[in-house]
């Protein structure tokens, strides 16, 4: 049981990071990303491909594994490569859509299509990243043979998550974050104040994808093997549900949402002893429940369980004594 809790904690933590990445885009920047799993996948595969070593003869004939490459780099370098891969692709997609001044609908479709294609490419194209068989023997940053593997990994992932959380929070309070909030509420006001709205959104989108990619890299390192089926559209939907339910536009909301959606609904429901007759209906029913939760929260409490906090700012003394409420983290 302790063992399970440890494993579940690592999963929840990594998923929390993924949601945080999405929250930077959705909550902070007001942009949709229906392909968040694609960036998660890019991070994971980027890390894995950089870290694994191919057997001497390319390994292809003996093990029937076919990779494009395997660099055999140390894990910290690999995960950086994974994060960079996810960021570069995100920047290109965001440039494509946002620079043209197109609305969110297009970004939603483009990201959704991107993730779907990436999944098709990684799963059906065997020579690329070994298709459905996936990549095995990915080195981990902590000693795999240690009996306390999960605990150690939890510490590593936890430390990374805290650092990332602090950085995101800091960015949110920075002038950049303030402009991002203005642009989110109304891009034209941002432009009128002299800020480049598209540029701010592209940077925020890339940042979010970088965090998602980091989560992917940590996930690959934790599991030691990854297959395309770990990166299906369901993950995007769960991450989106976590952000919607938890509360967009703040760091804590992502974590609360991840705990509720992933911890309670997705993992928790495994412990209910379902009668055999309905067992096969449980996975779709679980997703129906997640979908219902999303639709209902968006209708009844669009700010989520932990709403974005409003702080009161005092106007300069010369101005009227009225107080203005301004969005802030």
């Amino acid at each position: 049981m302790i063992q399970f809790l440890m494993t579940a904690s690592v999963s929840a933590l990594i998923f929390g990071l993924l949601s945080l990445g999405l929250n930077i885009q959705w909550g902070f920047g007001g942009m949709v990303n229906f392909g968040v799993v694609g960036f998660f996948s890019l991070g994971a595969y980027g890390t894995a491909m950089s870290a694994v070593t191919l057997p001497g003869d390319g390994g292809s004939r003996l093990s029937r594994d076919t990779f494009l490459f395997g660099l055999g780099l140390p894990f910290p370098v690999s995960i950086v490569i994974g994060v960079v891969t996810a960021s570069v692709v995100a920047a290109l997609l965001a440039l494509l859509v946002l620079r043209a001044g197109l609305s969110d609908d297009y970004l939603g479709v483009v990201t959704l299509a991107f993730a779907q294609l990436l999944w098709l490419a990684t799963s059906t194209q065997k020579g690329l990243v070994n298709g459905f068989n996936g990549i095995r023997n990915i080195p981990s940053p902590v000693d795999v043979n240690s009996p306390n593997y999960d605990q150690s990994y939890l510490l590593v992932a936890g430390a990374v998550a805290i650092v990332v959380g602090l950085i995101v929070w800091r960015i949110w309070r920075s002038p950049f974050g303030r402009v991002l909030r203005i642009v989110r509420e109304d891009p034209q006001i941002g432009e009128a104040l002299g800020y480049n709205a598209s540029w701010h959104r592209i940077v925020a989108f890339t940042l979010g994808a970088a965090v998602a990619g980091l989560a992917g890299g940590l996930w690959a390192g934790f599991l030691g093997s990854i297959t395309p089926n770990a990166f299906r559209i369901e993950e995007t939907l769960l991450a989106l549900a976590a952000v919607v339910v938890g509360g967009s536009g703040n760091v804590i909301g992502s974590l609360v949402g991840s705990f509720l959606v992933v911890g309670v609904i997705n993992q928790g429901s495994r412990f209910i002893p379902w009668p055999v007759a309905i067992e096969e209906y449980v996975p779709p029913l679980r997703l129906i429940l997640v979908g219902l939760l999303m639709v209902l929260v968006l209708r009844l409490r669009p700010a989520g369980v932990v709403p974005e906090r409003l702080v009161k700012l005092r106007r300069p003394r010369s101005a009227a004594s009225a107080r203005t409420e301004v969005h802030s983290a």
Binding site: G101, G108, V110, L120, A121, Y281, I288, V290, M294, V295
Partner: protein
């Protein structure tokens, strides 16, 4: 290895099948200004309803087709009133995400009922034997039927929008909802009609799908991406653009299988979409108003 002309023949069928949901999506998008991700589920509903009616009733297939279109069309306004009407004033972000949640609910409901294994409707040999008169295009009666239905639908939608008072009201609503409302356009009724039309057209596409392929619960969702590419390629609001966009993308997807794996076909649609967004974001014939 199939030759180019045969693949173009296939592509015409693929494009025509996409055209039905695309016409619906184009109208709904013009009127509502948000993309309904759950539009793909109307396609899936059409295919599965057709499958069920075909299995349990002895009715002739044309009649089943009509029943399916009516049934799916009827769900459109219900979805609109239940799910989207209460949040219409909110941001696009919320509408879009809600539609994704709705898609999740519908798709998994189909999965729970029918299971993950693919379903197909059996047709006898004559349906898939190429018509001799079409020569090297090798168009089968199944594809010819899809082309005919799609063509008829495109023509009726265009005539409806141009010639009837309802069509005029719909175009007014798309151009300026407030102005339309004060001018006496029954906004609620027109929205219901939009959604009935959008769902019905998608359902028609779904009902024809069994003619050319088997289907799974996520078929509609996957098809949506290519449908969106077709709509945006031609340009939002232009019916001619939608027709051309779907045919071009359908043919491009099939012809691409000469060089790339068929599994990556949707990638061709995405690549075309990306190129269009880069070069001409409004699409080929795109205008802001519904024509």
């Amino acid at each position: 290895m199939l030759d180019l002309l045969t693949l173009i023949g296939f592509g015409l069928g693929t494009g025509a099948l996409m055209m039905l949901p695309a016409l619906g999506l184009s109208i709904q998008l013009s009127v509502d200004k948000f993309l309904n991700i759950a539009h793909g589920e109307f396609i899936a509903m059409g295919a599965y309803t057709f499958y069920v009616l075909h299995q349990i009733t002895p009715l002739p297939q044309p009649l089943i087709f009509v029943l399916v279109v009516v049934a799916v069309a009827a769900t459109g306004p219900v979805v609109e009133r239940l799910v989207f009407a209460p949040i219409r004033s909110r941001s696009t972000l919320i509408l879009l995400t809600t539609s994704l949640g709705l898609s999740l609910i519908l798709q998994n409901s189909i999965l729970a009922i029918f299971g993950v294994t693919s379903k197909r409707v059996e047709y006898d040999e004559s349906w898939v034997t190429p018509i001799a008169a079409t020569g090297p295009l090798r168009i089968t009666p199944a594809i010819a039927l899809i082309l005919a239905v799609a063509g008829a639908a495109a023509l009726s939608v265009t005539l409806f929008l141009r010639l009837t008072p309802y069509g005029k009201a719909l175009r007014a609503l798309a151009a300026n909802p407030d102005l339309a409302a004060v001018s006496g356009v029954p906004v609620r009724r027109m929205r219901a009609m939009t959604w009935a039309g959008a769902a019905g057209l998608a359902g028609a596409g779904g009902a024809l799908l069994p003619l050319v392929s088997s289907f799974t619960p996520d078929t509609g969702f996957l098809l949506l991406l290519t449908v969106v590419a077709g709509v945006l390629f031609g340009g939002l609001g232009s019916m001619g653009g939608v027709i051309l966009g779907c045919l071009v993308i359908g043919i491009a997807m099939e012809v691409s299988t000469m060089w790339i794996s068929p599994a990556l076909r949707p990638g061709v649609a995405l690549a075309i979409l990306a190129a269009v967004l880069l070069i001409r974001p409004r699409g080929l014939f795109g205008t802001e108003v519904l024509k």
